[in-house]
Subunit: 559 residues, 2 copies
């Protein structure tokens, strides 16, 4: 076969530069496999946008080649965009998906939300199974990460064996008891020459190994023992190991556990179903039961650890939750470090609001040992280099700075910089006969999606518009009277591409009045609270009134 | 004298909640003294706004009482708003200001920039002087901080002695050789009962003491020894100690030093004049001379350590500096941690841009020991508690979370929580006969000022408008063609309160075209680069064309 048709193409469609939004394509001749299909998170100034998804243009143009989708783990930045892709494919019933058991549960839950039916999902056992997708054969092996059933793969391609490890730590004693399967990875690497290693680079500028997470449990207990009233514990909803630790503590302290927020509730239930999250039969109670108990007998596991606008924790901190209120003397435990600049501002807003209400808040800055990253560091990364001994190195899952750090690491540890290929979104590598060339890059953009309320507000509205400009941009200028902390004048709302001109004026005027009334009910507002509350209110208001979700940009003045 | 006229009022006009923007008022009867008068920094979404200043309304209404302004140290968040206040006072020539020698130099430099004349400035020696402002007597003592000549004060008021320490570390061996004067503070505290301590709380949630900064020098040297071409070293311009360390390294390595950016150049020259910054006569060269040298013989000390839009470093990283270009193989050393969320995004943009150009960048995440905070931690704070033994505690210079942490610290260390008073901007405490009450709060707002270009673009334009709305808001919607990375359509510009309606349309259309041309000259742009470049361009463009500076809000789409 001539070179052109026998080349292996590796396409970093997205997942480099943006950290999240993982989507890689393996392509050979007329066959194509997708590895991971995740969402990203919006920039801080894209208020009202909740998700960014990869640009599927190339996949849709070549969908006749698509043999299947393989998912490495259950985080949103690896599986979150699957429903969006399936909805765009002409014949989604033709596509098979391969996932480990917990990922299957998360995926089926998504399919239910998005009302997707008839997709064939194959569940593989990461310890024992080997599976083929077209001419690609996948040998999964376990890696340590912050969600159970996370995998790396040794993939046999027509151009040789490659290793693809989206995230990993080497820790051999994780809370979920699913450590990096070192002996299997070593065996897979020793069987054949490894053409390339595509692996996570985000820890490539941090010395040492990522710490073991077991001590977190005793740190949670130490904090929780001092709770005077109810405890609210929050972490990323997929961090099953962390919730296990919180539940262990609750059980030891004789507290009941109550899940608040759809994402936490569903993910914990699904993990429990598989036996990955264990609790006594009577430990978990529903919200109605919880509210009958004494406050000190309850630990809420609550969604919204980044203070996301509209999340359960956000609503509690702003006094807007319809069933739950938090009070002075209650305790909130954050087991999540913010990822600045994306989430820090909203997390800080929620933390400060809670502290101001007299809540005893335990958060990232206090160094109480309540959080460990799911990502490896230099030590974890170089171990993988040594296990796989690849010919080429492809840093993935990190921005420019991490790719450069990974490149340096290769040269320090086991190779030279020429062996490293840094890919930006859409970049293509072509492998043939052990050699590699850069192919023609594919133009890709960030696709903005409104997934507002995913995981928390129940039923999802799928608005898979191509760009936000279709739903428009609304700029709201709010002026706070500084003496009273109240809004005196109706806010001014400027819109572009949102509602029809004829109807616009009246509607925007009414909206402005509603916003004013809402903010004035909140007591005194300042610039920061007015900003977040404005976005939360208008997101809901516009959708209720127009079934559309424009990007809301607040501009707040005091006068 | 009856109680009403004999009360001591302590007014936290600003400086709590916002960390920066320090301004405290001591008032008794018909006399009022201001302690510190600093600027704050804008929120991340306030593009085009460079400064936030305190709300002077209360001061202006009571200016007949104002006896003087005392400044504790030379950072912008302590002295930056002095010119703005003086410009608003009816009779600024009547007001006296008290400062230590370096603060005087920084202040005189500001007066020159702002063309302020005839203000009486008294220079005090922090080691030996005592001075009175009206009926308040100030006993300064040195504190360790990140700028030389930083002071705390024991103030004798008609209601007793109080301690006011805006920032401090206890470190006895700082680079500037001006350590916290422990014995003087102890003496001042032992002479009289201390009514209250108002002191910095921002480290109150961090264990231990802030580390000594001397080891930074050898870390800079370690990094600098590996430089293959030119070195660019950046830090906050007032961090004289850090520049001293960089210069020491440059001299040991036989390199010349060149200041780039007005703020760094002026501050270093002024510190040198006082003997606080020392270098050999031939060490410092100007830019023209520097550019004649071999690259490896030059260390630039450059402004813009937070990647501020429009700063020298920003312009170099975007290829827009008119005299200087940076190339592959050059080295940039950041001795500044970003203060998220305010500065992280722009600092990261500059770092990533430089790394992408092949520059060897040493920045906060690499943990190379290139930075130590100027703020104390729990240990530093509790030492001050123990030295002063006050009746009441007033946490200042930190947000809600730090005030609460400080309160907790008091109860853990040497008192109980009832002794602590947390003040939000505008809050008033009234002291009489050893007792304290909360007075009626003063309504205050954040005043947005355009100080664009301070320190870097030379001559300053003073636009001390009351609120930004007077200069207007401009929203720019830029659409990037994702295939080419170019702007195809003219950006859409929506403005409010910026230019007159009649002239508006044509002017905004021309501006949009100019912006398009500018961005298209930059090669491929993505969302992030388009955002920052748009703001930088329009800031300059609007000012050149209209002598006004609207707030520029970029909304970037890819299509």
């Amino acid at each position: 076969m001539e070179e052109q048709n026998n080349k292996l193409k590796f396409i970093a469609l997205s997942g480099t530069v943006s950290v999240t939004e993982n989507l890689y394509i393996y392509e050979h001749g007329d066959e194509m496999v997708i590895l991971d299909c995740g969402v990203g998170f919006p920039d801080i100034e894209m208020y009202g946008v909740d998700l960014v998804i990869p640009d599927f243009t190339y996949i849709l143009k070549n969908q006749h080649k698509l043999k299947g989708i393989v998912i490495s783990q259950g985080h949103e930045d690896h599986i979150g965009a699957v429903p969006f892709l399936l909805n765009e494919l002409k014949n989604p019933g033709k596509i098979e998906i391969w996932v480990a058991p917990l990922v299957n549960e998360f995926l089926q839950d998504k399919f239910e939300e998005f009302e997707i039916k008839g997709v064939k999902v194959n569940i593989f056992n990461p310890d024992t199974d080997i599976f083929s997708v077209g001419k690609f054969t996948f040998n999964p092996f376990r890696v340590t990460h912050s969600v159970p059933d996370s995998c790396g793969f040794a993939i046999d391609t027509p151009q040789g064996r490659v290793f693809h490890v989206p995230e990993h730590k080497m820790d051999q004693n994780p809370v979920d008891n699913m450590p990096f399967d070192r002996s299997k990875a070593e065996r897979l690497a020793s069987e054949k020459e490894v053409l390339f290693l595509a692996s996570d680079c985000i820890g490539a500028n941090k010395d040492g190994f990522t710490e073991n997470e077991r001590p977190i449990e005793q740190n949670i207990e130490k904090v929780a023992r001092n709770a005077k009233k109810a405890i609210y514990f929050t972490a990323i909803s997929s961090n099953i190991g962390r919730f296990q630790q919180a539940i262990n503590v609750a059980e030891r302290l004789g507290k009941k556990v109550c899940f608040v927020g759809r994402s936490v509730q569903r993910k914990c239930e699904l993990a429990n179903k598989l036996g990955y999250l264990k609790y006594k039969r009577d430990t978990v109670v529903n919200l109605r039961e919880a509210q009958k108990k004494n406050l000190q007998d309850i630990m809420y596991l609550i969604a919204g650890c980044y203070g996301q606008v509209g999340s359960s924790l956000f609503r509690i901190a702003t006094g807007d939750h319809n069933r739950l209120t938090i009070d002075e003397g209650d305790m909130v435990i954050f087991s999540a470090d913010p990822a600045p600049p994306y989430t820090k501002e909203s997390e800080d807003f929620v933390i400060d609001n809670l502290i101001d209400m007299g809540v005893d808040v335990h958060y990232y800055d206090l160094d109480e040992g309540l959080y460990v990253s799911g990502h490896g560091k230099k030590g974890d990364i170089t171990e993988l280099f040594k296990i796989t001994k690849p010919k080429y190195f492809l840093p993935i899952g990190g921005t420019v700075r991490f790719m450069h750090a990974y490149k340096k690491l290769v040269s320090e540890c086991c190779g030279n910089e020429d062996q490293v290929f840094m890919l930006k979104p859409g970049d293509v590598l072509e492998f043939f006969d052990g050699k590699v060339n850069r192919g023609k890059s594919i133009p890709v953009k960030e696709v903005l999606v409104d997934g507002h309320g995913i995981g928390d507000v129940g039923k999802i509205v799928l608005s898979d518009r191509k760009t936000l400009s279709e739903h428009g941009v609304v700029i709201v200028i709010v002026k706070i009277d500084v003496k009273s902390g109240k809004i005196r004048k109706d806010p001014e709302i400027v819109s572009r591409g949102f509602v029809f001109e004829r109807e616009e004026k009246q509607f925007l005027m009414t909206s402005a009045k509603s916003l004013k009334n809402y903010l004035n009910k909140k007591g005194k507002v300042d610039r920061r609270s007015a900003k977040f509350l404005t976005v939360d209110f208008l997101n809901e208001h516009f959708f209720k009134e127009t079934a559309r979700r424009p990007m809301v940009i607040p501009v707040i003045f005091q006068e």
